[in-house]
């Protein structure tokens, strides 16, 4: 390992405490997983706080966090590393996963099911008791230090038959379920994030619950906590609540005119 491969850790540390309101014992479970060197799988719908939780845990455990947003063209080289051309020669460049292993970071693979299945297999030896990362092109087997932790997230709400985790991948993790928080907790989160009056936050949460009841009936997914925060911020900046909910929630959720009209009707009943 050369010094060039050591990251400037300060870049990856979370310095200020991110706002995160625990809903159950997820913090304790994650800490235990860290101590026991078990990788963690975060399951939950979009915008429910998975990424925020990871930031919070990074701050809480004082470990650097490297986040990779997965997509369907993500290759193994994108994760592990590749040779680049510099001055008519090739230079090895670590990928984010290798960097995390070398430096004992938390590596967070966001929306892992979006990545190609052959890509995900590279993490297998890292996720069992071997804790090694083979770097084929360098001919190296990189041993992960105890501080290294792998976490990944996915949204099991997708009904795609092709977007599913293989059992061989799945069974290397412990899982933390992130469904939407309880109404009072969610209202508190919105209130804290946007600084909006609690009564209005409660109405926003009610609107979100109404949209969530429509999943499968015109909506693929209900309004997330993140969307509520967006709408709350608009209201806080002086926008009329109905308008804020339309722009921040209803029109974001769908393009289907009929469903948009229905969402507008919901807003009308609440504001």
């Amino acid at each position: 390992m050369t010094t060039a491969n050591i990251i400037e850790n300060s870049k990856y540390y979370i310095k200020d405490e991110p706002y995160y309101l625990p809903t159950a014992n997820e913090v304790e479970i994650f800490n235990t997983a860290l101590e026991e060197n078990i990788p963690v799988l975060l399951k939950g719908p979009t915008g429910c706080g998975k990424t925020r939780f990871m930031e919070y845990m990074s701050w809480y455990t004082k470990r650097p966090l490297i986040t990779v947003s997965c997509h369907d063209d993500l290759t193994t080289a994108d994760l592990v590393g590749r040779y680049l051309i510099q001055n008519d020669t090739t230079v090895w460049q670590d990928g984010p996963l290798t960097t995390a292993v070398r430096n004992g970071c938390i590596c967070y693979l966001d929306e892992i099911v979006e990545a190609r299945k052959d890509t995900t297999v590279v993490i297998h030896p890292l996720c069992d008791d071997r804790r090694i990362l083979p770097i084929e092109k360098l001919g190296q087997l990189l041993q992960a230090p105890p501080e290294f932790c792998l976490a990944m997230s996915y949204n099991p709400g997708y009904q795609s038959a092709v977007k599913d985790l293989k059992p061989s991948t799945r069974q290397r993790f412990i899982s933390i379920d992130f469904s939407y928080p309880a109404a009072d907790v969610e209202a508190k989160i919105v209130n804290q994030e946007a600084g909006l009056d609690m009564a209005v936050c409660e109405r926003l949460v009610k609107l979100a619950e109404m949209t969530r009841n429509l999943v499968g009936n015109g909506l693929d997914e209900g309004a997330s906590t993140r969307l509520l925060v967006h709408a709350a911020k608009l209201i806080n900046r002086g926008f009329e609540p109905k308008m804020a909910c339309r722009c921040g929630i209803a029109d974001v959720l769908t393009d289907d005119n009929e469903t948009v009209t229905l969402l507008h009707e919901m807003i009308e009943t609440l504001f």
Partner: protein
Amino acid sequence: MGLFSDILKKLDAGNVKRFSKGGARTGGALELRQTASTGGMATTELLIRLELIMGQASGLPLMDYANEMVHLSHPLQLFIFSETSEISNLSYEHAHEFLSVASTALVLMEQKQYERWLSGVKQAFASGDPESASYQIKNYLDYTSERDTRTAYLSDITYTLEKLVLSIHKTELPIVAAELVTENKLMSYTDDEALYLPLSISHFDNYEDNNRLYKVLTFQLLGQIHCKTALALDTLSDGIREYGDDFLTIFSTIETLRIDQYIKAEFPGLWNDIVLLHKKAKVVYPLNIFDNADIHTVETSLQLTKSLLESKLDLPELIYQSTFQLALMAHVQNVTIKQESKRKAPLILNPTTDVHDELLGTGDPKTADRGYLRALKDNAGDSVLNSPPPGWIPGSSDEAEVAQHITKHNEKGVFYYREWDTSLKSYRKDWCRLKETVDEDLVEDVVIEDPEALRHAENRIRKTFDQLINDQKFMRGQNDGDEIDIDAWVSARSGKSKDADDYQNLYIRNNTNNRDVAIMFAVDLSGSTSGWKNTMIKQSTWLLCKTLARMGDQYAVYGFSGAGRNDCRVYPVKRFEENYTKSVKSRIFSMKPDQYTRMGVAIRHLSKLLGKTSAKTRILFVLTDGRPDDVDSYRGQYGVEDTRLALNEAKALSLKPFVLTFDKEGMDYLPYMLGSNRYQLITDISQLPIQISTIYKQLTT
């Protein structure tokens, strides 16, 4: 004929509105006047078809109807036949009344008005009021009058209201037309299973307020359910006995005010609407009536009713006040009690509940097979094996039986499948006889009903699938392609062995379609899918097949039904190896409702066919309208368990099962049968074509 001739003259002059689809309304009147020579059916053919629907000896002036219809275009003629057929299933008398005005009404009305008219007629039938249906058929002109612009119609707002209710109540409550308006009073009531609203509202002089009133009525009824109004039944009955109908009248107003408090707290936006309506109706709202108590129950309403009766205080009648009926409240109480007991003893998920025990010894001939099998297990098979039940092929060494077994298995197009008996906790070997039946009764010349509406759906489906097709992928390390693959070059240059082959694959190819999907559509053709459902299923299947042909995905469509374990049927509509052709289209439109839903055997057979394909992603897509059900006690826990096992067997073959159902009770058993995210409930069947394509996209991307 006189009236019709007049209309035709007006049509020539261009001053009569036509029945047509929105944008196509400007195109002149000639389309309607097509005769046999220009596409419509001639009088003789019309007469024959009318006789087929109404019967030859009906004694009705069928020739007159045929003469009127001959002036219409072919699709419009088919439209009348389809509607007449549907009404004649309910009442011949009404079908005759409908035929006598249908052609004229069709010409006079816009499509929306025509739909409202028919919807009104059908809803009157549905609510068991044939007189009202008859009245509405005859007074079709009411639907063309000027009040249209200010009147809000239930048919226009049902979808929105139902979904709005679903978003709050979490389970669907259908919105149904209430009895007709009496003495200018709006009838609205609920039995906890549906919300009954007036067919139309023209109380205010503008559409917006009438529309608003619909919403308030709906929330009032929903409020009755959430605020448990039905609990007042006993006290209310006593009160009416003691004080007369005044007690009910005052209670109605008080309870409405209590529900208003609920609305005010939970839906402030709607409360603003209520305030606005009061203002427009010039009603002085008794604001402070509920101010003194913190929590208001229905008991509060009853106590207030008594005290107001004694103080003789007048209360205003609110326009959105629901119709409280003791009979309905009693019904609600019964339903609640049943639901409570059901909740305490779940049938499916409680492993200790054994339906079998209840069935044994009942003497019910349908349970004979199962009784036999239980005996077989208990007695280790010795004594009972001497008299096997019909169709039962145990693992016997008897040569004759084996020979018979082999003969049966050699029948062409016949397959035998095992079935899971949940009471025995074992499979019944070769229990179901399934036959692949190719429908010979093909529709030679398929005429698509309502092609304009389908065109809209088709465009939506195309758009959805285009997104899939355009979902381009880059393939790296190819020997030819659109771009140079720098990574491949670097890799080749830095590789330890300077293999010439490494320098061959230096391109990135923009691969437009790297999908590798095979899907099997299993369509439930049980008797319950008759009528409108069958039409929608056929249209959806047709549109799907037509558009899927462009995708390059392997797909097959099979219908399934049957009656008993020895008569299970699957109907190949399109096999994997076939292309989409005219005969596939004919087979789609020949799909008709059959008998029962023995789902397990159909799933096993179609899984086997799907398992033979080589695609990476293989999806078994079941479209059904209800739970597994067949004549020979294949229902309840037995049917669900067998279907669950069949689906598990499919999963073991690396197939991905998915169920799309119209069954509102589907949530009771689908999560158990399939696990999460492998099913979807469709509440509005008219959305089926679009929904099915959206789900297809979700499943395959």
